[in-house]
Symmetry: C2
Subunit: 206 residues, 2 copies
DNA sequence: GTCTATAGGATGATAGAC
DNA sequence: GTCTATCATCCTATAGAC
């Protein structure tokens, strides 16, 4: 896991606090997405951001608070992307299709969807679980109330979203060229956006 | 997390090695399902099984090997359940419907689906990721080759399966009575089996 | 704002008795 | 087969200098 975003500044370089915070959140999102909440270490996040480990902890207070901030940022970005997609006047495509395209685009934000996914499977954790439930419901409410989907459409959207998350998390694209079942699955799940997925995969090959 | 399965035997009680192995796997499945691979400790698994921590490690060699054994057992049980459901001569229902019912029944096996889910989101791990990909593909191949689903049916089954896993993992049922969006979501996702989900939830309330 | 040094607590794994 | 004792490692968080 090398640095994230903007090239790592020289150690000790000062930065405006908002920028630094965003840089740390982006790095943390990538690392949490890859290793999960418990598996990600504050040290790995610090290295990804090019700062010291204690600084990461200092900035957010605790690792848990950092993860909650990552989740909040991920949810914000998702809803912004959805609202933007809905607002675009493209009468030819359905609301579901537009939101789906915006969802897939979120894959470019490294670790964003997977950090959420890791949170979703930690429902037993008193703090993270509560945040994860609220985040999931926030999306569900958006689909019903703002996007105007009916219950069945909302359920279908969420189901295919979870399948996409899972296929990305398990790195099924690693087998795209070598396994027929993997290829069929990815082609079925991402009819138009396979190229995006493979590009992201190759960018992450280390 | 108290003991699992059969009442905890007195410390030091000997057991036939096959039985003991199954007991440890059941306990490990529950703990891994709840806390994930990294978050689950061999100590918590040992306590859930009523044995000592070193014994758990000794029996499987490493925590990683234990997790792989849990995944293998989960996959075996899933495929057995699917094949049984297919074999039952119930011409009234489709293959998808019969397999779906069998899938939901797997929720009774505590932590089984969630342990798989935790593995699925750890695709970056060289060992666990490879096992997770193979496990997922194993199910996908079963759906296409043995169950006779077409690509779109298989994709739909997997998508709703991942949504179910996520709703269980995030413990959405905890909000069933208090949040309208949660209730609508669960009612849509589990039209017939809400009672099973709520029963399992209440059984796990500690 | 950011770093170095380090305390303090858990955790996976090993050794060896019974 | 199973336990007790213990080691070595890793990791979050704190203290304090610059």
């Amino acid at each position: 896991m090398s640095s994230v975003d903007t090239p790592t500044p020289e150690p000790g370089t000062r930065m405006r606090s908002g920028d630094r915070r965003e840089q740390l959140l982006a790095a943390a999102t990538a690392v949490f997405g890859e290793r999960g909440y418990v598996g990600a270490t504050t040290d790995a996040i610090a290295r990804a951001a090019g700062v010291s480990q204690p600084y990461v902890v200092r900035t957010f207070g605790t690792k848990e608070a950092l993860f909650l901030a990552v989740l909040g940022r991920a949810l914000d970005r998702m809803l912004v992307a959805f609202r933007t997609a809905l607002a675009a006047d493209d009468p030819a495509t359905s609301a579901t299709a537009r939101i789906s395209a915006a969802y897939v685009e979120l894959l470019s934000d490294r670790g964003l969807l997977l950090s959420l996914m890791h949170a979703f499977v930690l429902g037993s954790d008193p703090v993270i679980g509560a945040a994860a439930r609220e985040g999931f419901l926030c999306v569900a409410r958006f689909l019903r109330e703002e996007a105007g989907l009916d219950p069945e459409e909302a359920r279908a959207f969420l189901a295919y979203g979870m399948l996409l998350n899972t296929l990305v998390g398990v790195r099924m694209a690693d087998l795209y060229e070598t396994d027929a079942a993997a290829r069929e699955l990815l082609d079925a799940a991402m009819p138009t956006k396979i190229d995006l997925l493979l590009r992201i995969r190759d960018a992450e090959k280390r």
